[in-house]
Amino acid sequence: MGASDRGAPQRSEERSVNQPRRHEAIRKVGVIGAGVMGAGIAAHCANAGVPVVLLDIVPGGAARAVETMLRADPAPFMQRSAARLVTPGNLETDLGLLADCDWICEAIVERLDAKRDLYAKLDAVREPGSIVSSNTSTIPLATLVEGAAREFAESFLITHFFNPPRYMRLLEVVQGPATRADAVATISEFADRRLGKTVIPCKDRPGFIANRIGGLWMQSAINHAFDMGLSVEEADAAMGRPIGVPKTGVFGLLDLVGIDLMPHVAASMKATLPADDAYVLGLREHPLIMRLIKEGRTGRKGGKGGFYTRTRDAEGKTIRRAIDLATGEDRPEARVALESLELRDLRQVAEHPDRGGRYVRAVLLETLSYAASLVPEIADDVASVDAAMRLGYNWRWGPFELIDRLGASWLAAALREAGRPVPRLIEQVGEGSFYRVQDGRLQYFGTDGAWRDVPRGEGVLLLSDVKRAGKPLARNAGASLWDVGDGVACLEFHTKMNALDPDVLAMIGRAIAMGKKGAFKALVIHNEGENFSVGANIGLALFAANIAAWGEIEGMIEGGQKAMHALRAAPFPVVGAPSGMALGGGCEVLLHCDAVQAHAESYIGLVEVGVGLIPGWGGCTAMLRRWSENPRAPKGPMPPVAKAFEMISTAQVAKSAFEAREMLILRPTDGITMNRDRLLADAKAKALSMVEDYRPAEPKTLRLPGPTGHAALSMAVQQQAAMGRVTPHDVVVCDHLATTLTGGPRADHTEEMTEDQVLTLERQSFMALLKTSGTLARVEHMLETGRPLRN
């Protein structure tokens, strides 16, 4: 009896109810309109492995869009081969390609007549029962389906993606009164599980949730900046850290999305919202902004800059300038020095008398009271609004979370003081808050005054929920161990940027020891930080190097190697579940897990050479092992060495989990999860599936080429150096890397080397490099600027 038999009952159960999983009902997608949004949506469906037809009105337009996307950065495709799933075509001649599409997504120009014309054409070719959606951001659904056939209206909904579709996690979904419930469910589930989106149901109101509130916020932030005499730098800084908006703030965001977009958005909102809506009342044409648009200074994409400009002087130094809102003249960018913005507590910021504090207060009063006045008009609950703002505008906190930070009663008092109406919802909350934790569950305040759990999709398991509900199995300053149910533990890193330091290594050791004693039967390594881990704490290493504490550093390397070995040798399965960056030591952790379940948006690589080092926690050894075991790799001792050398010496980073698989950082058996919220559940399932009869991997021996291989690699590096492609210190680093990967001066491919021998070489090379001034300068530069030094 094998594993497949044990898995069988579950599957037959599914079959017995004879209901295919809904997201599998979308087998092919059609996207119409190959603009930025349409093309991006098509690419992302291809990322999910679904064939896509992309049609454009311009002949050849769709094919060109695919070409452009293959060169774009950030890349819309998660791997180049995904582009092959996109069939480009022309709207006139290739409409027939849509006949077998289960979902057709329209993303053409925002003109009602054009959209209606298209829908009529679609109705002629599409399969009955297929779903049609529009990516409109401005036209109400009711208007779009006015006069359409009943079956069309039943199959129609709005799916509003955010730019760029691959990266922005929000999908606003609007259904009409006629829309079939199963159409909504099918698309929602497809978007959730296959596209990795968080689906927020919205009402059929202009701008839906995110753009309605986000648009008013931008307008308010711009108006007040002009009125209160703030500089653009001050306004953006005020919006940044205190409020939790990305650091582009408001003027930086306008530069990013295009200043010329403003009047279009304003016009459409004005046309669709009632005249007494705060959004319409606050609409203003600022002469300076109109002038910028007229001059074609519409932001970053136009090349002429916008509120901020960056040019280079004769010596190639970047000159940063910003526009003076009062005079309209360009002047050098200035550092912001406002006492209010140094404060940590949001309420203190909003109460501070300087212009930063007054500005924050004014924008918050307007934005938050507007948001509060719109529930339930635009969404059923506050949790949806907050999620939309976090995921669609990348705000750190949604408006109701911001209100909780200020205090709802404080906001009410401040509104009254300013002579503004207090929205009913805020009155209703009174002295209370919009969120609370009850019995370990996060709950929100409903419009009916009742508390409800913040909804989680079926099968979603969030570490933050686990943490809210209980105490860790173990904890230190750098990491914690949590029980995530069914005998699975989760090791969470929580240092700054999840850098790996002695605390984290100690917790790995502790977790392994607890697992050996039977505290759990499988371990998942996962966290909900922005990044899985940016690697070893090089700040600590640099400081130790600066005081010549070489013994301590060698101890750190050895400790890391031991921890990695312990992960691999543990008598229970260990599954790594990364999302975001997993670099250097973070990547090495994954390389030593028995399996990996990666979020599709994982950026993994061994980047040590960027700081003048080589992987020292078994990363070199692991990549040699991966390439030696790869059945498709050419035979002989050199190919694995050359492959590992190429990847490590260029600090190559996979830009998605799919690319990581191509680089053998992930194995073919490792899983990829599109939706970040489902990552932990998938990883847990993977871990549990490995528990029965688990046997840890045996150490392997390696055959390495020794000095002849080293000579070959050195020659290649010399050639690159002669062409000016590598720097002098690159040559030094590559030499140590080559020594390690080829097995050192005494290696010979006829003899087998143990992994321990190669690990010793890793350590020696690491220590030798850390003693060079070139490496110390690189580490310091990386710590201080976040960019590699090319010395």
């Binding site: 406002l338 640099l542 400081f543 005081i547 010549a548 580490v779 710590l783």
Partner: protein
């Protein structure tokens, strides 16, 4: 009566044997710095100090400065001595030849400074302040300001001040109230009160240039809103003579414990005309460039006083006949043995000597690195040297001035009751030494500067410039038997400093209170280790000379080195234990219980 002779032999030893003389001569503008050139300068400096400045030291202390209707008079003989000082070209020693200076390196100028501090610290204050003003103006002033004022400072014709402190703000300069309002002609009008202004008003020069910290109307709050201004006592005329009186007056002189011949003034600025030096709101940064140099200079004050106190204590101990040696009479021909036969007197004298000579070595090493930081053609070399100077500045300031206080007190002790009365001059050194631990940033602030700013700067890069060469030195000599008695204690102290550094950095990151709690002990540990390194190198240089012509000098060096290693350096053990104990106990005491 006390005496003073410049320690020229030791200075030559440091310049030619302790540091690598080739390092100085490899710097642009220093190619000619051979003993043939330097020795006569030091000889002459020594003469000026013992023959002109030293005789005014006691009388200056007795007489002090006086003020009458805003006019300040220095003690008798000071104006004449100052004239001789200027005429001898001593004011221009280390100044830029472009402005009439002689362009001598800091490593030579520093030795002259030490002599002045030994001979007459209060006198030395006047040119010392001019030096700070010279440094700030030459680095941050516009071309116009430099052309107009620097030549006057270089000749010593005009002097300078640093006006930072106000009644409500000393250490925390963010609290400054003095205002600067822009005038239509590009100048500013300065209004406010300053206190503790050394050389703020006096009768030595025809004009005084005040460098004043003040706030512009649009200044951001705190230290990021301070600007630096030049405010001359007399507005210069077109042909560079002192013209109209500016709105700045001395309102009072402070009555102090020591340096009584130095005029410490309360200054009042009333709509005084000033020129901006450097960028608006960046005044503190500009001031810090001269403050760093000034801090090194204050360290040298401690050194100079320790030296003169030592010389007089030795003279007394050899001369004073009292009792007999513990093991029996050593000078049976005399009514009693000189007290120098006693182990405890020897302990005191050797402590003074080992500390003084060690500190002189550290100060010279620092001065040489300053020269490298200023003059080396390679940017990386300049950076490395500047890193070292940044790191060691608080150590030099605090360690040398603490040492100056300790040593002058020991010197007084050697003289017993005669040390305590004025006639012998020993108590003046104690009083004069005390201020050096306080001004230019108290020694507590220096310790905070070391652990709070210098230690973590660039992830510890400054530290590298000390730890790497010292470890390399230790490792290179670990197999040299003759050096063992010096290398072993050095290596032990180095290990303690390493562990303490790692520990203070680690704790301080989580809790700044911990860093603050360790700061003073840590600085002392650092200073002792730095001195141990200097002593090991001095011992090595002395060993190399063997039985040459001046065998006695080198034998004494080796003995002093041994004394330092055996009888002073072990303090690092106690300091290390104090540091590792942490700051909890400092926090524990309730405020009300104090």
């Amino acid at each position: 009566m006390p005496g003073y002779t410049a320690p020229l032999r030791d200075m030559r030893f440091l310049l030619n044997e302790f540091v690598d003389p080739a390092r100085l001569r490899s710097l642009p503008g220093c190619e000619e710095m051979t003993p043939d050139l330097i020795d006569p300068i030091l000889d002459e400096a020594g003469k000026l100090c013992s023959e002109v400045l030293f005789p005014l030291n006691r009388s200056g202390d007795e007489e002090g400065c006086t003020i009458e209707n805003g006019v300040v008079r220095t003690p008798k003989g000071f104006p004449e001595a100052y004239r001789m000082y200027c005429e001898g070209g001593w004011a221009s020693l280390a100044c830029d030849p472009a402005y009439g200076g002689q362009g001598l390196p800091k490593s030579v100028a520093m030795l002259f400074e030490e002599m002045m501090c030994s001979a007459n610290l209060a006198f030395g204050m006047y040119p010392g302040l001019s030096h700070g003003a010279y440094a700030a103006l030459s680095k941050h002033g516009t071309q116009e300001l430099r052309d107009r004022y620097l030549p006057k400072l270089v000749t010593g014709e005009w002097s300078g001040t640093m006006c930072l402190t106000e009644p409500q703000c000393g250490t925390d300069l963010g609290l400054i109230r003095t205002r600067a309002v822009p005038a239509d002609d590009g100048t500013y009008r300065i209004t406010g009160n300053k206190i503790f202004i050394s050389a703020g008003e006096h009768d030595l020069t025809s004009n005084i240039l005040h460098l004043v910290l003040a706030k512009l109307p649009d200044a951001p709050p705190g230290t990021r809103g301070i600007s630096l201004f030049l405010v001359p006592k007399f507005l210069p005329t077109e042909d560079g003579r002192p013209g109209a009186r500016n709105g700045v007056v001395c309102t009072a002189l402070e009555h102090k414990m020591g340096i009584k011949a130095s005029a410490t003034c309360a200054m009042s600025f009333d709509d005084a005309v000033g020129w901006l030096v450097g960028q608006p709101h960046r005044g503190l940064a500009a001031m810090f460039t001269m403050m760093n140099e000034a801090r090194l200079g204050v360290g040298v004050q401690g050194l100079g006083l320790a030296e003169v106190s030592y010389q007089n204590a030795v003279a007394y101990a050899k001369d004073r006949l009292q009792g007999r040696a513990l093991g029996g009479a050593q000078h049976p021909d005399k009514p009693a043995d000189p007290i120098i036969v006693h182990p405890d007197v020897r302990r005191m004298l050797l402590t003074m000597r080992a500390q003084t000579e060690g500190c002189r070595a550290l100060a010279l090493w620092t001065a040489l690195e300053q020269d490298v930081a200023l003059r080396h053609p390679d940017a990386a070399e300049r950076e490395a040297a500047d890193d070292f100077v940044q790191l060691i500045t608080p150590v030099v300031k605090a360690y040398l001035t603490d040492m100056g206080w300790d040593s002058t007190a020991i010197g007084m002790q050697v003289l017993g009751g005669h040390g305590y009365i004025r006639e012998w001059g020993m108590e003046q050194y104690v009083r004069d030494a005390r201020i050096a631990q306080i001004y230019e940033g108290t020694n507590g602030i220096q310790a905070l500067d070391l652990v709070g700013r210098k230690m973590g700067q660039h992830a510890g890069r400054y530290l590298r410039r000390f730890f790497h060469p010292v470890l390399a030195y230790i490792e290179a000599r670990s197999e040299t038997p003759a050096m063992e008695e010096f290398i072993l204690p050095l290596s032990k102290a180095f290990g303690r400093l390493q562990s303490a550094t790692a520990e203070v950095a680690r704790r301080g990151m989580g809790d700044p209170f911990e860093a603050g709690a360790a700061a003073t002990d840590y600085l002392r540990l650092f200073g002792l280790t730095a001195l141990a390194y200097c002593w090991a190198r001095m011992a090595e240089a002395a060993l190399a000379k063997g039985d040459g012509e001046e065998a006695a000098f080198y034998r004494a060096k080796l003995t002093t080195a041994r004394f330092f290693m055996q009888r002073i350096l072990p303090q690092t053990g106690a300091l290390s234990a104090q540091i590792m104990a942490g700051g909890a106990v400092l926090r524990e005491m309730e405020e009300a219980a104090f």
